[in-house]
């Protein structure tokens, strides 16, 4: 599903955010990207979202080589990718329902389908009863659920999440991770950047450890355990 070959991102000569990164994530995988701040986790996600272009190397997602995509192809590609951020990125002036349906509305999805799908994903994340609330009226966990519902709205093949539990307390973090596991169980590939080793251990999925922009540890699967 996701393949990178010698993926490199340098912001200045000799200053690498990512260096020669070669990873492979199969369709339906659930993978954690971990490492300290500045390790290159977010950079990798930005490259996969095509918010930035790599300095060198290739990234192939869902069979698309991201290097040669035209503007229209980038738009089409992004419709196949869901994203979740630490700061939720909800639109404060829109209700929960509007925030979720907005992702469909702006790509021209028919209104009936928008409504149906919005109810569906809100129900799925357990927030159908808060559909008329504004983000400011929600807890952090609820806001992140809305963001996840929005990421799912367009039925993406892959979900990219950048520190999705970074602003949440441990209990809420577990709830969110459970949601991601459910999403993955339905066949969606999930790639989550986090530095929360406890959460990774609890979730018990494959981990890619980055440091200074490089893959430093061999890929391994963390044992699933319980939080202390």
């Amino acid at each position: 599903m996701i393949e990178t070959q010698n993926l490199t991102k340098a912001y200045a000569p000799g200053r690498y955010a990512l260096r020669d990164l070669s990873i492979s994530v199969a369709k339906g995988d659930f993978v954690f990207l971990t490492g300290p701040s500045g390790a290159g986790k977010s950079t990798l996600l930005r490259l996969l979202l095509l918010e930035e272009r790599p300095s060198e190397g290739t990234a192939i997602v869902g069979g698309r080589n991201l290097a040669g995509l035209s503007r229209r192809e980038i738009q089409a590609y992004r419709r196949t990718v869901g994203f979740v951020f630490q700061d939720f990125k909800l639109i404060p002036s829109k209700t929960v329902f509007e925030n979720v349906s907005f992702a469909m509305r702006v790509i021209g999805v028919p209104i009936d389908h928008q409504r149906r799908r919005t109810y569906q994903v809100l129900k799925w994340v357990g927030l159908q009863h808060r559909q008329h609330a504004y983000p400011s009226e929600l807890s952090g966990g609820e806001q992140q659920r809305v963001a996840i519902a929005r990421a799912l709205a367009n039925e993406p093949q892959v979900i990219l999440a950048d520190e999705p539990t970074g602003n949440l307390d441990p209990d809420l973090s577990l709830d969110i991770m459970s949601l991601f596991r459910d999403i993955n169980a339905s066949g969606t590939t999930v790639l989550i950047a986090t530095h929360d080793r406890e959460l990774i251990r609890w979730t018990g999925r494959r981990t890619l450890h980055l440091e200074h922009g490089r893959l430093v540890a061999p890929e391994h699967v963390e044992e699933r355990g319980s939080l202390a």
Binding site: L49, K89, P92, V106
Partner: protein
């Protein structure tokens, strides 16, 4: 169609949210297009006034008493073929005397005090408007003075040529000032659209990330610019109409007195559409320029 509907809704929401900055932008567009429309109204009315005066302007070519008939016939034919001349009328010495008597009956005795008929025969020329305005009539008058058989040339249109030149200058300055104001207004529209982009930055980020087409991303900004331009032009046209009606009441009679049957006229339909079109275009371009950075 969906993109247009979306852009329309977002643009309206954005304009409502804009408050004072939107009013400021519409205000500057109004001032700019009021100036542009005002110059159009004034210059078109002045143009008509001058054309009216020009139509009344004549050139009289006075002939020597000893001129041969063949010379007169040849000169008249030549003048009829001249591009500046519309009609040529030969006025004989007798006709000139008869006209004098008819026009100044109280001076009839004066004409009798001289021996013979003191009035020269002449060729009276009506001129086209365009050559007068371009000064070609002046050149013709100078040229005719030196012709065989011509005693003198009287042309009262030189001052009209000068007025046309002044009008051209005023028009140039007017268009220049209006262009500067319109440019300023375009920058204000761009600033307002930029502000609304800033207010919508969260939405725009999401739109880009979910792969929204450019029509959805840039459309609201372009439409916002178009609406600001159209609103400014409509306000300008309303104020211009009010100003025109006021001027009509105050100086309409004076204008009619100067221009004969002509009356003060407002912008033609074409000019009105031109003002609206330019405003909409400028607004739309400003919106498009600002939103160009969005991909």
């Amino acid at each position: 169609m969906k993109a247009i509907r979306f852009a329309w809704r977002e643009a309206i929401v954005s304009l409502r949210r804009g408050g004072r900055s939107v009013l400021l932008s519409i205000g500057t567009m109004t001032v700019a297009f009021f100036a542009l429309g005002g110059f159009l109204v004034i210059s078109s009315n002045l143009q008509r006034l001058l054309e009216r005066w020009t139509e009344a302007a004549e050139m009289s070519v006075f002939l020597r008493d000893d001129v041969r008939e063949a010379t007169v016939t040849s000169l008249a034919s030549e003048l009829r073929a001249h591009r500046s001349v519309t009609t040529v009328e030969y006025v004989s010495k007798d006709q000139a005397l008869a006209r004098f008597k008819a026009d100044f009956p109280e001076l009839v005795d004066l004409a009798g005090t001289t021996e013979g008929n003191p009035f020269p025969a002449s060729l009276e020329l009506r001129l086209r408007t365009d050559p007068v305005s371009s000064g070609a009539a002046d050149a013709l008058a100078t040229q005719l003075v030196n012709r065989a058989g011509v005693a003198d040339v009287r042309y009262d249109g030189q001052w009209l040529s000068r007025l046309f030149a002044v009008l051209d200058g005023v028009r140039l300055v007017g268009v220049g000032i209006a262009a500067i104001l319109v440019l300023g207004a375009a920058f204000t529209v761009a600033a307002v659209v930029r502000l609304s982009l800033y207010a919508r930055r969260d939405e725009l980020e999401i739109m880009q990330l979910v792969g929204a087409p450019l029509a959805y991303i840039r459309g609201p900004s372009i439409l916002e610019g178009l609406l600001l331009g159209a609103s400014g032009a409509c306000c300008a046209l309303v104020f211009l109409w009010i100003g025109f009606r006021t001027a009509q009441v105050r100086v309409g009679d004076a204008f009619a007195g100067l221009a004969g049957p002509e009356e003060l006229r407002f912008l033609t339909t074409n000019d009105t559409l031109l003002v609206l079109g330019v405003a909409v275009l400028i607004g739309g371009l400003a919106g498009a320029m600002v939103s160009r950075a969005l991909r």
